[in-house]
């Protein structure tokens, strides 16, 4: 019922707006629907995405009563395609904010939605054909790796022996590792070992135990994600090894940001790849419709080091991540 009413209202509003282009006051009355399609909360980072998307939904609906935000989560690429079909079948979408599960599988379905004139905002993972999107918001995975590596090279004085834990074999993981190793290769730091721990605390714990057993001296460890870092720290503490000067992660998980704030010596920094980027994207999309602020283009979030000085800007105590 409600969707029909909404659709009807939007339709009539469009017709009226089309007829009377000289009446700007009407833009206020027009209702906009923004659909947000994101992965379901299956691990820490996507949990954060869902949290920030739902928060942004409430904030924007409160600030702009004429905007309706619909958040829809999907547990796989196929499920996301189905949910896109459902969303566009049941609503007249003015905008779609999507964090695609995979680039290739979602490109066609998103193009389909775009062909109806819907404003498309793509977040994080790009589509195979960038010409479909109006706005692109993403973090910088190469910078996540490179900035961490720069800091480490500086602190270790350009030499030492380190171990690395990788995530799940994906583009995200590849880019982080690429950014990191490119910087490290220019120094005299030696990467002793690099293995997958699938962004999983348990596997990171196990892998770190094995690293500790294999190498009598490790100067630093980089875990490419804060979830894994927690497992790493537990293994190091248990082994009572004090040769490890630095244990670093990435993503800006709240437990790790708390450590940074407290001035932890072994984990003094983190690098953000914030799930809150979904909120940035929803806000920018809303601005496209409410303000006279064109929002077309690409917006790449920086990955500045999170230090005790700026940690509070990256700290969301209520977020699950």
């Amino acid at each position: 019922m409600t969707t029909f009413n909404q659709g009807a209202r939007i339709l009539s509003a469009t017709l009226v707006a089309g007829a009377l282009t000289t009446a700007p006051a009407l833009a206020q009355d027009k209702e906009f629907t923004i659909a947000v399609s994101i992965p379901a909360a299956t691990h820490g980072w996507t949990g954060g995405v869902v949290y920030h998307a739902e928060r942004a939904e409430k904030e924007i609906e409160a600030a702009y009563p004429n905007i309706d935000v619909i958040v829809s989560t999907a547990s796989s690429a196929t499920a996301q395609v189905s949910s896109l079909e459902d969303l566009s079948a049941t609503n007249e979408l003015d905008a779609l904010v999507i964090l695609p599960f995979t680039s290739e599988e979602l490109t066609g379905p998103v193009e389909q939605v775009a062909s109806n004139g819907t404003f498309i905002t793509v977040v994080d993972r790009g589509l195979a054909d960038p010409s479909i999107q109006d706005l692109y918001v993403a973090g910088d995975n190469i910078a996540v790796g490179a900035n961490t590596a720069d800091w480490l090279v500086d602190k270790l004085g350009g030499e030492g022996e380190i171990v690395v834990l990788r995530g799940i074999p994906t583009v995200i993981d590849d880019e982080r590792i690429q950014g990191f190793t490119e910087v490290i290769d220019k120094s005299n730091i030696k990467i002793l070992d690099i293995q997958y721990a699938n962004w999983n605390q348990d596997e990171a714990f196990t892998l770190m135990q094995d690293y500790l057993g294999k190498y009598p001296n490790i100067d630093a460890v980089w875990a490419n994600d804060d979830d894994m870092l927690l497992g790493v720290l537990e293994a190091v503490d248990q082994a009572g090894r004090d040769d490890i000067k630095f244990a670093l992660g990435g993503n800006g998980m709240k437990q790790v940001i708390e450590m940074v704030m407290a001035g932890d010596e072994r984990t003094p920094i983190s690098t953000p790849y914030p799930p809150s980027m979904i909120a940035s994207a929803i806000y920018m999309t809303a601005a496209q419709f409410t303000g006279q602020a064109p929002m077309r283009g690409s917006f790449k979030l920086d990955a500045p080091l999170i230090t005790p000085q700026n940690a509070d800007q990256f700290y969301f105590p209520d977020s699950p991540f």
Binding site: H43, G47, R166, D202, F205, D210, K214, E234, F321
Partner: protein
């Protein structure tokens, strides 16, 4: 015709013990030797203790799975169930800490055992009363338990109260006369499991139901009851594993225990228990769990395998172990 079979099976096993049931232990020894040759650090006391301690989870859950599989059942929900029990346990402990202090740990463990047993009972009853294939039922409950832990943690992580952390930590990291507690707990679980399976009437019924349910039924065995009980035992084992698991990282996440069901089933089958039921090897299951954990350890310790190919080598070793098993037991 079949009533003769059921009598014949135990007798035949009595005679042909040597190779068939020793195979998993021979495979274990071979992998240990391989590990020692690849990297001398493998035999370092610390490394061995680490590996044995962390194989406790799969071994404990595996004991329960040995019962379920021996009755001809299968439980795919154990990994998710472990995560779910862990979540309930952490919530209970955090909730009770203000009133009970460190005793909240005991209360949490008690709740975990009850919840585990109930989860197992749920699986068992749906399967026996509803007469649905265990594969489908536990596939369903696998999703349900996984969704519950994701819901409880909002997709993030669920941590135990800081004040309990130090008090509870030794249950995973502590030891008694040099033997880590998780290893002792595994030993207790295995001894109880072995006693139930090999020394009680219930144990004989488990294998009877697994080798031929119809015959067991005709001989007066309550097949549904035996099967349901096996799932309850599985649930309790999952809870015991959860009690050892929580002190390790002090948190549960939606990825806790992910794919453990496959590791558990692999450990049970490597150990010599028949996937189609009718034969149970509790000690073999422990050997299976150790084999899996040692292979993973050796992969990290060796520099020969590319990080991209580790899983392929692990898979190959498991298949070779099973082929060797088949070869030796066929004789």
């Amino acid at each position: 015709m079949s009533s003769i079979e059921i009598k014949a099976t135990p007798e035949r096993e009595g005679i042909s013990i040597p190779w068939g049931s020793l195979a998993p232990f021979i495979a274990l020894a071979a992998i240990v030797v391989l590990g020692a040759l690849i990297n001398s650090n493998f035999l370092a006391a610390n490394n061995l203790l680490n590996v044995i301690t962390r194989s406790a989870f799969i071994a404990i859950i595996g004991v329960g799975a040995t019962f379920v599989i021996a009755t001809g059942g299968l439980d795919l929900s154990v990994g998710s169930m472990m995560a779910f029990v862990t979540g309930i346990m952490i919530l209970t402990m955090n909730g009770l800490t203000p009133s009970l202090g460190p005793w909240a740990i005991l209360a949490g463990a008690g709740v975990a055992l009850v919840v585990g047993a109930l989860c197992g009972l749920l699986n068992g009853l749906i399967i026996t009363v509803g007469r649905i294939e265990p594969f489908i039922v536990t596939l369903g409950t696998m999703g349900i338990f996984r969704a519950f832990i994701t819901f409880m943690s909002d997709g993030g992580s669920l941590s135990i109260d800081r004040s309990l952390r130090e008090a509870y930590r030794p249950v995973y990291f502590g030891d008694f006369l040099g033997v880590p507690y998780p290893v002792l707990i595994t030993l207790c679980v295995v001894l109880i499991g072995a006693f139930l399976l090999y020394r009680t009437k219930y144990g004989r019924r488990v294998t009877a139901v697994g080798s031929n349910a119809d015959v067991a039924q005709f001989s007066g065995v309550h097949v549904g009851g035996v099967r349901t009980m096996a799932f309850v035992i599985q649930g309790i084992c999952v809870a015991v594993a959860a009690i050892c698991y929580v002190p390790r990282l002090g948190a549960a996440t939606p990825t806790t225990g992910q794919l453990w069901e496959l590791q558990v089933i692999t450990a049970v089958v490597i150990g010599g228990t028949l996937l189609r039921g009718g034969k149970a090897r509790v000690w073999g299951t422990v050997a299976g769990a150790l084999i899996l954990e040692i292979i993973a350890n050796v992969m990290v310790l060796s520099d020969m395998v590319s990080e991209y190919l580790v899983a392929a080598v692990q898979g190959t070793i498991i298949i070779i172990a099973m082929l060797a098993h088949r070869f030796t037991s066929a004789r």
